[in-house]
């Protein structure tokens, strides 16, 4: 019950945040002085995108036991899809003023647009690719990995290799994604200038709504029998197989869905930070996501979202005020959460609340709601 209330609290905080920004920045006149500035909006929007990525990872790791160390790859692919749209919106306003080719292609003396850039001038097409590109990668990768029953640490290692390989590939200029520099210098989104405060407000609101939507969708999915099969796969894969379930299909479904949520998060992230480059594919980025989820509470979607926000808020603070201490702090948080918070922040809060109420803490379980 207390667990439920804490989850409602997390959900309500996100709703409140969205409502506040909507009221203060959109509805009320600026003279009231309640509106958030661009910097805060961007920071919050970023955190919300990271929270979505954490929810995506928790769906497969927390509930299905697939420890993906390559989830940043799906995030980045969604980001690149959005970046490609934004690049094509620049048009003649680029440094070289070419009507079709983005600057980096002109710089590389390319004559025409590569085929895989076709269609990205249309928002609806880019919008589809945001889901399709990461989803397809997850599908192909998962199809082979799960069918061959690659699991546990071996799966983690190859997901890490996957994101590393993508990083190396995207670093190459010949790939046609801007190489080392990635995609940047974006001008506008759907005709509105990205630098304007209004667009930043809407991007932050969209990130918040997307986070709520993904939390809601995952929660609904996990509340069905599908969710219970996932838990059964996590806890006893071979048993589930002997019950007649095609384990690889269940894993694949969850993995693809998770990749698509990660892709959407990446797509919302890129216009807010204004750049996407191959560094986003770095193995470390994926491992950080695992830290967020572990710290927030693996096996609880709200815990994962909370973990992402807490760790990134700490990151903003430390890298600003004590840059040299950040990595030590990150390491310390991971050690502490492993040793003392096996169920993460949310789990620890639940136990604490139980004790305050005078009840003995329940047997630790991952609850499914």
């Amino acid at each position: 019950m207390i667990g439920l209330r804490l989850r409602q609290l997390v959900f309500a905080s996100i709703v409140a945040l969205i409502a506040y920004v909507f009221a203060a920045n959109v509805m009320l006149p600026a003279s009231m002085g309640m509106a958030l500035d661009s910097y805060s909006l961007t920071i919050i929007g970023k955190y919300l995108c990271f929270a979505m990525l954490a929810v995506a990872l928790d769906l497969v790791w927390g509930y299905c036991g697939i420890l993906s160390l390559g989830h940043a790859a799906f995030f980045s692919l969604g980001g690149y899809a959005m970046g490609m749209y934004l690049m094509r919106q620049i048009g003649e306003r680029g440094t070289y003023g070419h009507p079709v080719l983005p600057d980096f292609m002109v710089f590389l003396n390319w004559e025409q647009l590569p085929w895989f850039w076709y269609g990205f001038d249309a928002f609806w097409f880019a919008g589809l690719m945001i889901f399709f590109a990461p989803g397809m990668l997850a599908f192909v990768f998962g199809w082979f990995a799960f069918r061959s029953r690659v699991s546990g640490v071996y799966l983690s290692i190859i997901t890490q290799a996957l994101t590393y390989a993508l990083m190396l590939a995207f670093f190459r200029n010949e790939m046609g994604f801007g190489g080392n520099n990635g995609l940047t210098d974006f001008k506008d989104l759907l005709g509105y200038p990205l630098a304007s405060n209004g667009v930043r407000v809407w991007l932050m609101l969209a990130s918040g709504l997307a986070l709520l939507l993904s939390l809601f969708l995952c929660q609904k999915l996990l509340a069905t029998k599908f969710g219970r099969v996932l838990v059964a796969v996590r806890d006893s894969e071979s048993r589930t197989r002997f019950l007649g379930y095609r384990v690889e299909h269940f894993k694949l479904f969850a993995f693809v869905m998770s990749a698509m949520i990660a892709g959407l998060a990446g797509a919302l992230y890129v216009p807010q930070v204004g750049i996407i480059n191959p560094g986003e594919f770095s193995p470390l980025a994926s491992i950080e996501v695992v830290v967020w989820v572990a710290l927030g509470g693996r096996g609880s979607l709200y815990g994962a979202a909370l973990g992402a926000i807490v760790v990134n808020a700490a990151k903003t603070f430390f890298t600003g005020s004590y840059p040299e201490a950040w990595l030590f702090f990150l390491g310390a948080m991971f050690v502490i959460s492993t040793l003392y918070l096996p169920r993460g922040i949310l789990g620890a809060l639940e136990d604490l609340a139980q004790q305050v109420k005078g009840n003995a803490p329940k047997l630790s379980t991952e609850e499914l709601s």
Partner: protein, 249 residues
């Protein structure tokens, strides 16, 4: 396809070796439809390996394993075999510990196993009815909301038998059901398995001789991966070889 044998389960000349160790050595057994059969034998006799071959976990090096005289079990995987109608209870009780008893039963409930179906499925009244019926049959009616991990060893065994029943399999492979049970529970289990025979074909692997006696069925004795003797319990226990390798003098 025309059945090539009348047997429900037909194993002939099965051999499996692990790193040179012959876990099964030319093993042949067949079970008639509706039969209850006890399989006994010392540790390492190949009982679990035989079940692994039947359920698709292990591929034999040689031999034939036919289900209903027409399904070649050596070509199918665990999921396909489970869906054909061969259910298995493991030696170590393996219920899903983080799900409740009711949820465990729901997972086992016979029906379409596709992911899409799992998302759309809503329990029908008759599903709830058969689940509660099985729950009362295995004595877990009061524990439906309890997590699988909190059950006692004996209760887990019962839950697993209950899950097996809800799968409505044609063949039940039951590995050491009485382990960790009290004497009265053991007798109750034997009664339950006996009541299942006829409608289902049941193969029970067991060490507990009192339990085998209570089953009162045909007994197969395995030793070093092949069948040493077969017949009624009194018949096999008077067999000198069986006494030497298993029962002891």
């Amino acid at each position: 396809m025309i059945p090539v044998t009348q047997a429900m389960l037909y194993l002939d000349g099965l051999s499996v070796s692990f790193d040179g160790f012959k876990a099964l050595n030319n093993l042949s057994i067949d079970l008639a439809p509706g039969e209850l059969r006890a399989v006994i034998g010392p540790n390492g006799a190949g009982k679990s390996t035989m079940m692994d071959v039947i359920t698709g976990k292990t591929r034999p090096d040689a031999g034939v394993a036919l289900f209903l005289g027409r399904h070649d079990l050596t070509l199918l995987d665990e999921t396909q075999i489970a869906n054909l109608g061969i259910g298995r209870k493991f030696q170590k009780p393996s219920v899903i510990e983080t799900l409740t008893v009711e949820e465990n039963l729901e997972l086992a409930l016979v029906g379409n196993r596709s992911p899409w179906q799992a998302i759309m499925q809503i329990l029908r009244p008759q599903d709830r009815h058969s689940m509660s019926e099985v729950a009362s049959r295995v004595g877990l009616t009061d524990a439906l909301d309890q997590l699988g991990g909190t059950l006692s060893h004996g209760q887990k065994q019962w839950l697993e038998i209950g899950m097996l029943l809800l799968q409505e399999p044609k063949v039940l492979l039951v590995d050491e059901p009485a382990a960790g049970m009290t004497d009265s529970e053991t007798l109750k289990t034997a009664e339950l398995l006996k009541s299942l025979a006829g409608e289902h074909t049941v193969m029970v692997v067991e060490h507990d001789m009192e339990f085998v006696e209570a089953l009162g069925c045909k007994v197969t004795v395995l030793h070093e991966g092949h069948v040493l003797a077969e017949g009624s319990l009194s018949h096999v226990s008077s067999n000198d070889e069986v006494v030497d390798v298993y029962l002891g003098r």
